[in-house]
């Protein structure tokens, strides 16, 4: 094995390396870090926004973005609480369908009316927040169906269900992107929408599907979150868009579109999750955590911008 090869692998897997180094440092610093319970907690904490990050990765690869994910997640959780009197399945279905519907709306607005996605989803973000507050009358609402919590509190091998859902979805969509026609179309449209159109790819349909997918996943994340404590409120997901976009970019997916893999988003989410966990272990104040999250997003997009610039000159 020659040295350049090792260097290439190190550059390629830099996020994994950072996770490893951070993990070793934390396990030396705190006896609690490397316990089964804590690792499970980290995965449980990231699983909800992790589901959304899968959708965000695909959306960014196709060349669009969605700022409304947090409001849509809150919408999904509120619907899950409101519809659970009709049965667990009704609550789950309502939350997911509601999220997917908002995603579809975003997609149609962007593709049919040719609007910039960042501005449209800023609008739907405010709109859906209002809808959620209207539905909850600005209170935290509690579910009446006690058994609803089985969807998130059930454990297999001492690991709660949302973690499995996140991992299965990540594997599923990694395969969809790699193996399916849809995946190929996503990369083609993100790489060059005009050329894709000339090749007969239905660009509008692919993009609408990606928006619907992230809506679906945000709704699902909301449903699973509601299942955790069986409560919902308009304050859910306030900073989810910052978290998810930071995670996806941190994983190395560029805002330029056309490139990236689901695994990168998962790595980004995992790293952010470990960082959040570390900040809690080190008893860093939540206010400082917010400062760090803000700075991190700024640093990440600067690095992304620099690497896009470099690519142009190469």
């Amino acid at each position: 094995v020659d040295r350049t090869r090792i260097r290439d692998i190190a550059v390629e897997q830099k996020i994994l390396l950072v996770i490893l180094v951070l993990g070793i440092y934390l396990s030396l610093r705190s006896r609690y870090f490397l316990t089964f319970q804590n690792i499970t907690n980290i995965f449980l904490a990231i699983s909800f926004e992790g589901m959304i990050a899968i959708g965000m990765a695909i959306l960014i690869i196709v060349g669009e973005i969605d700022l409304s994910v947090g409001s849509v997640m809150a919408f999904g959780s509120v619907l899950a609480v409101l519809f659970q009197p009709y049965g667990i399945a009704a609550g789950v279905a309502a939350g997911i369908a509601g999220g997917a519907a908002v995603g579809l709306l975003n997609g149609l607005l962007v593709t049919r009316l040719r609007l910039p996605s960042i501005a449209v989803t800023l609008g739907t973000m405010v709109l859906m927040k209002g809808v959620v507050f209207a539905l909850t009358k600005e209170h935290t609402i509690t579910g009446t169906n006690r058994s609803f919590t089985i969807i998130s509190q059930t454990e297999l091998l001492h690991i709660p269900v949302p973690v499995y859902v996140f991992i299965v979805l990540a594997l599923l969509f990694a395969m969809v992107l790699n193996r399916s026609t849809f995946g190929r179309d996503v990369y083609a449209v993100g790489g060059n929408a005009t050329a894709s159109k000339l090749f007969g790819i239905k660009v509008e349909r692919v993009k609408t599907a990606c928006f619907s997918l992230i809506g679906f996943l945000s709704g699902l994340a909301g449903v699973m979150l509601a299942g955790k404590l069986n409560i919902a409120s308009g304050n859910i997901g306030q900073y989810s868009n910052v978290f998810v976009i930071t995670a996806v970019l941190l994983g190395g997916i560029s805002l330029e579109g056309g490139e990236g893999r689901i695994l990168m988003a998962v790595e980004g989410v995992l790293l952010l999750g470990i960082m959040n966990n570390a900040m809690v272990i080190m008893k860093i104040s939540p206010f400082v955590q917010e400062i760090i999250r803000g700075l991190l997003l700024i640093v990440i997009i600067i690095i992304d911008a620099i690497s896009i610039e470099k690519k142009k000159y190469r």
């Binding site: 009316l113 405010v126 927040k129 507050f133 976009i245 206010f287 991190l296 997009i301 992304d304």
Partner: protein, 313 residues
């Protein structure tokens, strides 16, 4: 005659928002006796000064083709800084927030222009950053300043029966209007917003112009903070939450294009009044607060649709 008529029609098309505003006020006055009282009109003007001043600054940033989502958390932060210092000295309570505003504007402008990053995502980052700092300063607590000093003159004083801060809004609007329509700086801002590459080829330093726009935006937040602290003599780390959306809504429904290059302060003021009139009516009829958010979301999307349609023609 024909020519005169077409000019008239074109002018009317340009002023859609003004016509809508007038129609709203007339219709609302007819259907609601509470709305048409002079007390309510003064109230309406009093309510819009803070958002109005912030929106004027936002207009400048939008014209250069960017967006500043950090204004809300910057507002909270500067309010706390102002009140903390005003507890000791009124002058510091006025000067330091404005100085901080300039520094914050330079920070935002530097990040966005130096690395050419998307301004929405960058300022989403600084929103989180400054809101964290604001929460940290007082550990989440609300603080109060000293009352009964000249500090309250902007917020509580009146001249000829009109609150002083309404004059402040007018002065800010007029200054910004002059900058945009009469100065080289304003022209350059519109060039940069229309076509950055072309503007740079023509010798306009687009990075510097955009940075100035961000400074103007933060500075107007600073002025809005003075109005607020002067009136309330209190500050909380969450005062400004959501102000960014109010300002963006006002700017886009006024008719300033989010694509940059086009827009005016007059339009934004009309947008601010339009938004305030709608919210005022919702409040008078006891609609829950949530509906304000729904209406704002619908207005933002509608305004973007109209703007994109208009540019296609």
């Amino acid at each position: 005659m024909k020519k005169a008529r077409s000019i008239l029609i074109n002018n009317l098309k340009e002023q859609t928002q003004v016509i809508i505003l007038i129609a709203f006020v007339v219709v609302f006055s007819l259907i609601s006796p509470e709305f048409r009282t002079s007390g309510n009109f003064i109230n309406l003007l009093k309510q819009v000064t803070v958002i109005g001043v912030i929106s004027c600054g936002m207009t400048i940033v939008v014209i250069t083709g960017c967006l500043d989502l950090s204004v809300g958390s910057v507002f909270s932060l500067l309010g706390l800084v102002g009140i903390l210092l005003q507890q000791r000295s009124n002058i510091l309570g006025v000067v330091v927030p404005l100085a901080c505003a300039v520094a914050i504007g330079l920070f935002n402008g530097f990040i966005v222009t130096k690395y050419r990053v998307n301004s929405i995502i960058a300022t989403l980052g600084s929103l989180s950053l400054f809101s964290g700092i604001a929460l940290l300063i007082t550990n989440g607590a609300i603080i109060a300043g000293r009352t009964g000093t000249w500090f309250g003159i902007i917020g509580r004083g009146r001249f000829l029966g009109v609150p002083n801060h309404v004059y402040v809004l007018f002065i800010v609007a007029i200054i910004f209007h002059i900058i945009l329509s009469r100065t080289a700086l304003g022209r350059k801002m519109k060039y940069v917003g229309t076509n950055t590459v072309a503007a740079e080829i023509a010798g306009v330093r687009s990075k510097r112009i955009r940075t100035v726009a961000f400074v103007i935006s933060s500075l107007s937040v600073g002025v809005a903070v003075l109005i607020y602290t002067s009136r309330m003599t209190t500050a909380s780390p969450i005062t400004g939450v959501g102000y960014e959306f109010d300002a963006v809504t006002a700017v886009v429904i006024g008719g300033t294009s989010l694509a940059g290059g086009k827009g005016s302060i007059f339009k934004t003021i009309v947008g601010v009044l339009l938004l305030a009139t709608i919210i005022n009516l919702l409040t008078l009829y006891n609609f829950p607060f949530a509906f304000q958010s729904i209406i704002k979301g619908i207005l933002i999307i509608t305004a973007i649709v109209i703007d994109v349609r208009a540019r296609k023609k």
